[in-house]
Symmetry: D2
Subunit: 300 residues, 4 copies
């Protein structure tokens, strides 16, 4: 049974028992925030789960979207700490970090990446233009939303690869909306990984993978599930009600549901909340205390 | 079996045979454009279909979104003619027509109403400010997008009722995104009716009905299905594969799918195309030849 | 000499000495925030200054736009206190306050009104839909951006008058971008008054006045200067350099500069900062402590 | 006297007589469309005018913004022909043309570049993904809006240089909003040149020049004046009224007007109209007949 999920955690659980070459770890970060790690150790694990070897961290909380201030603050802190644990080195002012906002701004559930960039503390240009004004705690950060293939004629991977070659960042952090299997994951989960990302996996058509092999620098991926593929939803419901569909039925469902996505009604509010929490976590992971001061200062 | 569709045509077909008090009519408008009319004649028809008595016209074409220029032109013409057939009187310069764009601009599949207004030929103010500049063919047209309850604290119906009382239009034309049962209806169907509309039926929470009873003037509704409720999709797939779910299963599915909507991946392109075609049809229905001239003039 | 300013403070100072029927008052609110009040007491004052009798309060600070957190917090507090002093009664849950965001969202310096609404705590609908969830401190608040005459065919005044009649608010608060004479006023000044407002005074064409005479309820105006009319700038420069232009020269300049506005290069950042500060001040004035809690909770 | 204009035509006329090394040519394209060419032949011309040697073509018409359909069609044709005359080679399917939309989407008068891209026929990806579907007349076209330094931390020039190295276009076409001296130029003039462009010359802070020296391929610039610097306006008015200001006065004016720009009130309508006309001209220049067919097909 082949289902479409970008979450390693879901992929690891599909068969009911853990495949060879895959390990998991659980951590209760705070009463309301849970952390789950999947380690894919080798080729065997990759075969079983369909994801490249590496570490996949999911942070889970009901209040990811910021409705409860205390839980949102815990999520932010968890996000910052877990990101820093995946960073190959501490961000500094010597080499920039390049943050990439993938996705389509005109499709609400796909707009997470570009929307996160709106709240990011971008500093790279200040180190050359007004070096004396830059706070000691700030790291050098650049950001780009490469746009959509149909509007640019350029693969995200091409744009990013060209920029990486040019500005030589210490790493790339790529943000995207993801697809989950279970609707309960939508907007309650953030997945981090050190294995890169396939742009458009969530909503667009899947494009060449952005990873260290392509870009030559480490690529940290950060994603939030905002859609479920319609076929996943239907197959899941069928399995619950009438038993798993056979191969032929499943192909027919994939066919008929091909280009349909499932998303919550209030997706505008969800994206707004998630983008705020994710940006705050990123700013803390990149700039440390400065981000806290900045958040207090701007109240935003 | 109670399914959520805003299309009278789908509601009429659910049971397989036509209920008492309901008549249908078919018309091949052009080889690529098909017109279907449902007449709900009385209380009995209303009970069976769950829609108020009146006329429901659906215009169907694969190329509603404008990808094929000739078919789009046929759709525009069909739309204009069918709208005019529903108008209680010919629009003129004496009393304005009030066009209402319902829905949430921040949720792509719900943004049809506000997006159509962007292309509408609005003229009411010109008759008082620069009467000598107004083309003889122009009717008086005003437009408003009343916004979203959570952002205004005002029901769409309240805003519209207040305005109608104030400007005394000859009729209201209300545009909204709709929910269908069949994914194949998405962006291939326009429904017109003379019975008013319940704002938010498609995506938002259903709100008090905008109709002649509330507003005191005729209300023409124009809608395009852009979503399917997730429960509808799942129940449909179950029925096809394992037979119709029983009442209990169905309630469980409605529960688990409650706030999820299903929409095509390329919903941004679809909304853009539909808004253009619908606005052009409206402009022709309201202003006649002037709209054609205007379309040629602006190329848009 | 007739110059175009929406600021009573500037109008009072044009002639060099205070006209009969006009009084002014100064207050150093904090080291960085200055408050200036103009009272126009009678017809004579109105003639001299060209504004209706009433109170005009300007709050002035370099850091209105929020770049300095402490000063922005002082501005917010000053705004809240001065607004409350103008309110005819304390906002409560019995009758709503209607907040109106005037201006054109598509012209950056004119977009202040609609942008403020994005950050407003709107509650009116919750008192009827989920009364048990509404915090005790919340007042009933509704909001509308009536849009632009060219797009709606409706005068702002018509839309607001219709709504006021319908929802019977205790008062209207109208927010708009203003025109100043001195570029130094841009984004460093907020003007409050209890005399209503002429929509579009800043950028659009001036429209019928929104005031208690039109609407039947008190109208509080809140405006931030974001433009200077080009003629004002040129006449000011001429006066400084070569002495004041004569009547004929002045008319020629008004003619040649007619539809040009002057605005800062970084108007996008300015509008973003001003909208945030103004919304926060409004929320505090309307909902008291709740707004502070909310601000802390959402960090935004 | 040093005034800020991006128009070679204005710079050539400032002193009243044509400097050495500069030639001009006039052409009445149609009764309503006038073409003016400035050739800067050498270093001497460059010194005099402050622009690099090359050809500067201005197309002038009152109805650039598309209010009159016939004139707009003439402008489109003039634009297409003059662009083609500057192209170093005919665009084809072998090597892409890279179109760059400079400027800040959030500042209305600076948003021309990004807005033109919305209407561009982008095809490069189709030649690799669906080569059989690409019309024989289509050239390979890619497009990017590199965004704003403060939001990306990246100079436009860096982003474009990186991409050019990567995708090896046959040329770059860079679109930007410009600054003029005379308000009468605003939205009535398009300037084309084969000398590249300094991003942000119009509104932003001037950034390193995008030209063949930087990018290694020919750079065609296309700009429309949408602002006048406030200092230019004031100095012009002073000169008319009281004679030209002396050096000291002029510096004082530059100082006091430093970051202020002058723009028409209805800049949203102007940008919409100009973006449409420019995009149509570009599409014709790049894709020939196909663009006409496409325009007819999409009516937009």
């Amino acid at each position: 049974m082949r289902l479409q999920t970008d979450l390693a955690m879901e992929a690891a659980q599909i068969t009911g028992r853990l495949p060879e070459g895959v390990r998991v770890e659980e951590q209760q970060f705070t009463p309301d925030v849970h952390i789950h790690r999947v380690y894919i150790d080798n080729e065997q694990g990759q075969q079983a789960i369909g994801k490249p070897p590496g570490t996949y961290v999911t942070i889970q909380a009901q209040a990811l979207t910021g409705a409860d201030a205390d839980i949102a603050a815990d999520c932010t802190r968890a996000l910052s700490e877990q990101l820093q644990a995946l960073f190959p080195q501490k961000p500094d002012r010597a080499r920039p970090v390049l943050v990439v906002g993938l996705g389509n701004r005109s499709i609400t559930p796909d707009s997470l990446g570009p929307r996160v960039l709106e709240h990011l503390l971008v500093t790279r240009h200040m180190f050359s233009l007004v070096p004396e004004q830059v706070d000691q705690r700030a790291a050098s950060v650049a950001a780009i939303a490469p746009g959509v293939l149909g509007e640019t004629g350029l693969e995200s991977g091409e744009v990013i690869a060209a920029l990486v070659e040019h500005i030589q960042p210490s790493m790339v952090i790529a943000i995207d909306a993801l697809a989950a299997l279970a609707p309960s994951r939508l907007a309650t989960t953030v997945q981090l990984s050190d294995t890169g990302i396939a742009p458009g996996a969530g909503i667009g058509n899947q494009r060449p993978r952005l990873d260290q092999a392509l870009l030559g620098v480490p690529v940290i991926a950060l994603g939030v599930p905002t859609v479920v593929h319609a076929a996943s939803l239907v197959i899941h419901a069928l399995t619950d009600t009438a038993g798993p569909p056979d191969e032929t039925q499943q192909q027919a469902l994939q066919q008929s549901c091909g280009d349909l996505i499932v998303t919550p009604k209030d997706i505008d509010t969800i994206i707004h909340g998630c983008a705020t929490v994710v940006a705050r976590g990123l700013n803390m992971a990149l700039h440390g205390d400065l981000a806290l001061a900045e958040a207090a200062q701007l109240f935003s």
